[in-house]
């Protein structure tokens, strides 16, 4: 199987670093994106369609990262793009918003189980921050509980000391506890009685660089009850999982009801919009919070979101994601086993993380993922991947063929590790 080369990608990167710090900053870049080794990865996209993107060297990739989640229906989905184009011809960023905003809020309230209202912004971090402010405004308290490994964005309170620029003062009201451990949560409640405004969490532990863990039986119902008893706002950060597990919200999926729920990524199939939905009781609090942005109410992403949600409802997107994810995971697990590797697929099948057994260092995983990428299958060695509606059986077969080849190569490179 032919392995890709990236001469134009490299040429462009050398140009980029002259004018952009780090060349490609953030999670799409080679450093934060864990391109290991960097020579195996493309840097720049020329075009995208369905589940594919083509890099600037003309290499085609079946993309299981889906832009880290936004691509849920397939890149350049014709209906979503048509809705966006139609709105663009009318208006986008204007002094007063388009009435379409109301339509999207109504659609979200109708779709998301815990939503009595909806507010809009641009990125996931906008709405997780808005949720934190709302919890404090509603309770008059200052402390926020979050869980180890939970990613909620890049504002200082969401990070930790040691990140350049983050101060102790930024996180002094943030309490971080292990996921799935109700006893520790109870201890924290006792220690900080009357001082906790909110609990923020992803629906399950889908932290990067480690196996993912689903909620233990009874975890969410206990947390929900404890939050209610102690008048703490329960915030679900559904930015990454939202609409991939359940269109009614991942809280519904796991059998509880959040007070606030944050969406972004899959909400508009790649158009820049996020949403915070919530319980009626929090309407006065969020109304009092000063939160706004130049592009938060732009109409084009709103139009895209409406069409995206309509399509996801029509096709029952979460069921399809799970179905594709099951085929993907089962196929790869079997292929790995044929080659003497234990491929572990943890988290939800619609967005699982891949790890290898007997690989404490991640060396093997990094090598295998690099071999896959060079064969046109874009995966990540550090982060959960994502399924999308456009993945066909033929794409899965190509993925499996590449996996055979990639495992064979890694096996040859490491005879000492072959069991």
């Amino acid at each position: 199987m032919q392995r890709y080369q990236y001469p134009k990608n490299r040429e462009l990167f050398e140009r980029a670093v002259k004018v952009i710090p780090a060349g490609i900053p953030g999670h799409l870049g080679p450093a934060s994106g864990c391109f290991i080794p960097v020579s195996a990865y493309p840097f720049f996209c020329e075009k995208a369609e369905g589940t594919y993107f083509w890099d600037v060297d003309g290499n085609r990739f079946i993309d299981y990262m889906c832009a880290y989640g936004p691509n849920i229906l397939g890149y350049n989905h014709p209906d979503v793009d048509a809705a966006a184009r139609a709105q663009m011809e009318k208006a986008n960023c204007t002094t007063v918003p388009a009435p379409l905003m109301i339509e999207l809020a109504e659609l979200l309230v109708d779709t998301v189980d815990s939503a009595d209202w909806a507010m809009f912004a641009k990125n996931g971090g906008d709405v997780t921050n808005l949720a934190m402010l709302t919890a404090r405004a509603a309770t008059g308290r200052k402390k926020i509980v979050k869980f180890v490994g939970g990613y909620h964005g890049v504002l200082p309170w969401m990070l930790d000391v040691g990140y350049p620029g983050v101060l102790y003062e930024d996180i002094e009201n943030i309490i971080t506890i292990p996921f799935n451990n109700v006893e520790i949560f109870k201890q924290v409640l006792a220690e900080h009685h009357g001082d906790i405004a909110g609990v923020i969490s992803t629906p399950y532990d889908h932290q990067a660089m480690n196996e993912n863990h689903l909620p233990a039986d009874g975890f969410w119902s206990e947390v929900r009850q404890l939050c209610s008893t102690n008048e703490i706002v329960l915030i679900l950060d559904d930015v990454r999982c939202g609409f991939r597990l359940d269109l009614r919200g991942s809280d519904y999926h796991y059998g509880f009801r959040a007070d606030l729920i944050c969406f972004c990524k899959a909400l508009a199939n790649g158009y820049s919009i996020s949403a915070l939905c919530g319980d009626e009781s929090l309407r006065p609090a969020i109304s009092s919070v000063f939160a706004t942005g130049s592009y938060w109410l732009s109409a084009v992403p709103i139009a895209a979101a409406i069409r995206c949600i309509e399509i996801m409802r029509e096709i029952d997107a979460p069921q399809i994601m799970k179905h594709i994810g099951d085929k993907f995971a089962d196929g790869l697990i079997n292929i790995a086993d044929e080659h003497g590797f234990e491929l572990r697929v943890t988290g939800e099948r619609a967005m699982p993380i891949l790890t290898l057994g007997d690989d404490e260092s991640n060396f093997l995983l990094q090598e295998w993922v690099a071999e896959m990428v060079m064969r046109g299958i874009f995966l990540a060695n550090h982060h959960n991947i994502f399924m999308n509606y456009a993945v066909s059986d033929e794409d899965l077969e190509q993925t499996f063929a590449a996996a055979h080849d990639a495992f064979e190569t890694v096996r040859k490179n490491h005879p000492e590790m072959y069991r």
């Binding site: 990167f13 050398e14 670093v17 710090p21 780090a22 060349g23 490609i24 900053p25 870049g29 080679p30 450093a31 934060s32 864990c34 391109f35 290991i36 080794p37 960097v38 020579s39 840097f43 930790d160 000391v161 040691g162 990140y163 350049p164 102790y168 660089m209 480690n210 404490e360 260092s361 991640n362 060396f363 990094q366 550090h382």
Partner: protein
């Protein structure tokens, strides 16, 4: 606490470097000559350092039990830091006959060390041996500083606690390497590369390492350009790199 962290770095990362200076720099080795002077640095709150000079070399040791024939006492961590900056003098309490060595040879060695740790960039551009020696000594200073930050600095302790147990290799091409052993939130720096590392940070050349250690290049750009490679447990490297990023706060 800042002065304590800085003093522990000055002792166990910067002055410790005398050992490597005498190996790498002929003028320093010659200056030591055949004299035998073993200097103990006694600073409150910080493990003692003993530098033993003999046979054109220096050996650095840490702890209370090591033999010495000259003792330098400092009233506080700040006192040591001011000595390193050339503002204050130490208080000799034993080995007065070696004061001459302290005033002449040790001062000369300190100057040589400074010339490598605060390098002349024009010279480095044309003198590859100078660049190499400067890079090695700066790397030792920085990487021996990391365990001190992990031990004494509040943020450093928090970062170190997130580093999983295991070994982190830091190498430059095939020529140079050292490694850090992480164990239950404590770090130790060891010379040479390890065959059992869980993660690795690999500079392609001394030029790249020199640029990064002196703040002329950034690691993110270098990774993208393939000048710096990482491999293995990225979370270990990530937290280690944050610790490394704190070094200039104390050694600027």
């Amino acid at each position: 606490m800042y002065e304590t962290v800085k003093a522990s770095i000055n002792l166990h990362a910067v002055l410790r470097n005398m050992e490597d200076l005498c190996q790498l720099d002929d003028a320093s080795a010659e200056a030591v000559g055949d004299r035998y002077v073993s200097i103990r640095f006694s600073v409150p709150e910080i493990d003692r350092l003993v530098l033993t000079f003999r046979n054109q070399s220096c050996q650095a040791g840490r702890g209370d039990e090591l033999p010495y024939n000259m003792n330098l006492r400092f009233s506080s961590p700040e006192h040591l830091n001011l000595m390193v900056e050339g503002v204050k003098n130490p208080i000799p309490t034993k080995g007065f006959r070696h004061i001459g060595f302290l005033k002449d040879t040790f001062t000369f060695l300190a100057g040589r060390l400074e010339s490598y740790l605060k390098p002349d960039h024009e010279k480095a551009a044309t003198d590859s041996e100078y660049l190499k020696r400067s890079t090695i000594l700066t790397a030792y200073a920085a990487l021996y500083a990391v365990p001190e930050i992990a031990r004494y600095d509040e943020t450093g302790r928090k970062l170190a606690s997130k580093i999983e147990d295991g070994i982190i290799n830091v190498t430059v091409g095939d020529d140079f390497g050292l490694h850090l052993i992480a164990e239950k939130g404590r770090l130790r720096t060891m010379k040479g590369r390890s065959a059992n590392a869980r993660t690795a940070m690999m500079f392609d050349t001394f030029e790249t390492a020199f640029g990064l250690l002196n703040g002329k290049l950034d690691s993110y750009t270098c990774i993208g350009l393939g000048l710096l490679a990482i491999r293995g447990r990225v979370s270990m490297i990530d937290n280690f790199n944050k610790l490394l990023g704190m070094v200039p706060h104390y050694l600027s």
